[in-house]
């Protein structure tokens, strides 16, 4: 009988309108490294947030059994006190503070009214050495590289007396040498008895470190593979990750004639706005035609959003170079206003953060990007505005009592429709839809797909950015695969398969 440290039983977690986790089971043996794999949005991070108490007991159903006892965590401190420590994908360190201060943040040594700095630095140094860092504990976080910051996170976790370490995409921002060092460190800690759960997209790394691999897809556990028992090759894992049927989840687009090229991007380069020597988009060239739906596939952080936003009036990035041609003419779009004028629309992936004004009614949100369309010399015709909002509400069958309803009170799918309405009202020729169906349920997704088809039928060009491979495959006429800022593959609809796309991404990552 193996020694089970953690068992998560029948975990179900719902968000408004979506079931993020549906009856998920996870069994982790003591002293092993357990990998969680799955596509973006499959539910891996949500599962780990349930485990660490970020989603407190009561907001999900199912049991967490840790060391043989049922646990009901209501906050992160509860899980940490039992030795469950999570390290998030985005580093949670304060750049202006020293390594030692960061390591004991919220967990300060000494008395609340008198921090014992000697003890703090002594212990910090001890844990730093344990993870193989030779830096002084007085060094500021901002002065060390990302790789070392990740190691500091691990040292911080050790300082919390971690028994079960959860790492969410620990190597996503690291180069190969740093990644290797980190993985070897995990293997070393495993020998010393530490249990780890690692979430990763990099399957070569998963094959390298993991003893067991659990595949999650669409909020369900699909299978758990054991090293030495099952085949854990990358191909086998990919099959588990993507192996679902694409049934009639996507409405057919019939008789849409694909016309001339409407927009062409040539040799597009974009650098990070803050770390200006980091190239985010690397020599990208692509085109889209009238009536065509083009998919851009790739993992999170591949540079898809950055590409779209930099084209859309330089809303992202610095030192942007390259050419954009619209209807054969070269255009320069330095402001969002220019982009809108040239018939471009960008529907953001973050509808709450950068898409809608949640405290305002549907009417106001619908016209925001084209107020001139309902006003005369700067004076809004409120009756006309109302009529426009009602018109789009009907066209997109947005479910709401009136268009005076606050957008914040709508479900995700209806919010997405309002966001689409807002951009359709700017009468664009080319629409870039960034994750158009993120976080909305299946029925609403279908309606969004119908709207996309309708737009294509009207002769508009649509670019869909999506992490969901079936969506890309089901909706696109042509697919570009983006990885690490570069186009690493282009497929026609009939040639594309999930395996090919995943293969293109993974092959270029491993290089």
């Amino acid at each position: 009988m193996s020694d089970i440290i953690l068992e998560m039983k029948n975990i179900t977690k719902e968000f408004p309108g979506v079931k993020a986790l549906d009856d998920v089971n996870l069994v982790v043996e003591r002293g092993t490294i357990h990998a969680l794999v799955g596509e973006n949005g499959a539910g891996k991070s949500t599962l780990m947030k349930v485990l660490s108490g970020i989603y407190p007991h009561g907001t999900y159903s199912g049991d967490i059994i840790y060391n043989g006892e049922v646990c009901k965590f209501s906050k992160i401190k509860d899980s940490e006190s039992l030795g469950i420590v999570i390290i998030h994908q985005e580093l949670a360190l304060v750049p202006q503070m020293t390594i030692a201060e960061n390591m004991f943040l919220g967990n300060e040594k000494g008395k609340p009214y008198a921090v014992d700095w000697n003890q703090t630095h002594a212990e910090a140094t001890k844990y730093l050495r344990a993870v193989g860092l030779t830096e002084s504990s007085h060094t500021l976080i901002k002065d060390i590289g990302v790789g070392k910051q990740q190691l500091v996170e691990i040292a911080k976790a050790l300082a919390k007396n971690a028994k079960l370490l959860i790492l969410d995409e620990p190597t996503s921002s690291l180069n190969e040498t740093d990644s290797k060092a980190l993985l070897d460190l995990l293997l070393k800690f495993k020998e010393e008895g530490l249990t780890s759960i690692i979430i990763s997209h990099k399957l070569n790394e998963v094959s390298y470190v993991a003893d067991d691999i659990t595949v999650i897809r669409d909020g369900h556990t699909i299978e758990t593979l054991h090293k030495g028992v099952d085949d854990i090759s990358e191909d086998r894992i990919i099959k588990g990750m993507v192996g679902r049927e694409i049934a009639d989840r996507f409405p057919k687009r019939q008789g849409v004639k694909i016309g001339d090229v409407s927009m062409e991007i040539k040799n597009w380069n974009v650098y990070h706005p803050i770390y200006t020597d980091k190239k985010v988009v690397d020599d990208v060239s692509l085109c889209v035609r009238k009536g065509e739906v083009v998919g851009i596939s790739g993992l999170m952080g591949a540079g898809r959003t950055e590409l779209a936003m930099s084209v859309f009036g330089h809303s992202y990035g610095s030192n942007i170079s390259g050419q954009v041609f619209i209807h054969g003419q070269e255009v320069h779009m330095h402001k969002v206003k220019d982009a809108i004028k040239h018939g471009l629309a960008y529907v953001t992936e973050d509808r709450k953060g950068s898409g809608l004004i949640l405290s305002n009614p549907i009417r106001v949100n619908t016209t925001l990007a084209n107020l001139d369309g309902v006003s005369n010399r700067g004076i809004i015709d409120q009756d006309k505005e109302y009529a426009v909002a009602v018109d789009y509400k009907k066209k997109l069958s947005t479910k709401c009592p009136t268009v005076e309803q606050k957008v914040g009170n709508l479900s995700g799918g209806n919010q997405q429709k309002v966001l689409l309405a807002k951009w359709m009202f700017t009468e664009p020729d080319i629409l870039i839809l960034d994750e158009p169906t993120r976080g909305i349920d299946v029925g609403a997704k279908y309606e969004i797909y119908c709207i996309i088809n309708q737009l294509a039928a009207e002769g508009k060009s649509v670019i869909i950015i999506s992490s969901e491979l079936p969506e890309i495959l089901g909706m696109s006429d042509r697919i570009y695969v983006l990885n690490e800022g570069r186009i690493v593959g282009e497929f026609d609809r009939q040639d594309a398969t999930q395996e090919k796309i995943m293969g293109a991404i993974l092959k270029s990552t491993n290089k």
Partner: protein
Amino acid sequence: MKKDVTLDVSKEAQASPLSRKSVLDFVQKYTMVLVLVLVAAFFTWQTKGKILLPQNINNLFAQNAYVFVLATGMLLCILTGGNIDLSVGSVVCFVGAIGAVMMSKGMNMWIAVIAMLAIGLAIGSWQAFWIAYVKVPPFITTLAGMLVFRGLSNVVLQGKTLAVKDAAFVRLFGGGADCYVPDIFHGEGINILCLVVAAVAAVIFVAVTFIGRANRLKKGYEVASLLSTVIKSVIIVALIAFFSYKLAKHKGLPTALIWVALIIAIYSYITSKTTIGRHFYAVGGNELATKLSGINTNKIYFIAYANMGLLAAFAGMLTIARLTSAQPTYGQNYEMDAIGSCFIGGASAYGGIGTVPGVIIGAILMGVINIGMSIMGVDANYQKVVKGLVLLAAVIFDVVSKRKQS
């Protein structure tokens, strides 16, 4: 949780107009108006009706004219994201000082007026530049302005009081003994012009309301029920009648009130009917989304603070006219009166929410509390305590109701 909210609303839409839900909605929408009515009733009782004497009604508007003007400008700053302008009190003083010096040198009052407004706009633009384009936090920028212009006021006035002797200027901007619009009808014991203006205003209000409603009906848009429109109109007309009668019994329309009404009308229109007004709300509601909608958000910040300077200059003119002098201490705590009125009047401390009429209600509420307590003879120090607590209560209300929504 969100689902529930959506459901509730759809139920509400089907509910009858007088259901409990709609009463609750009414209370929520007009909270501050109801509070104002209650507070006014309280003081009427406590002062045995003295607060309703024509003299006191007149003072309510004349004394607080500067608050109405400043609060209107402050609203635009607050709309952009809960940002405030701390410099307005000092700017009021500084601009007033310059105007007083110019007029004391015998300069034409109109030149002085234009100079004052221009200086106010220039000061506003100076601060607005740092806030909008260099992204210096508004709090810091205007705190600096508060110190700078208070200091400069002292320099300009050399630390002394300077009388404003231009009688035309004083009368026009609401100071001195006869700062009232002359009664061209020469009424005996009652100012007929005041009543006529009020009657015209009431007729225009009713006409605009009902013609607008009829037009919307004709075009097939949704309208509020006839009953609620009638009730609303009756209340507004009754209020106009009441106040105009009181003012007419006193000395007529204070000129300051005319200016205030003009400012309120202009800014109500801008904030509710124009694209630029909409942009203010959008920036405060979600700056990123606004930027991605092709709106120049920096420009909106700039306009808010530049405009605040202009209105501070105008308030400066009202202040030196009313007090017929300029002093280096004028305008102290004016920024707090303006900010307080905005938050009490329902502006959100997070930005994006608030209306000019709401802010005016807030300012009137503050004014009623001031006058009421003064008549009751409450110690000035306790008056501050009460005003502070009222402000805190208003913001707590905003924060808590926001939290319930999310």
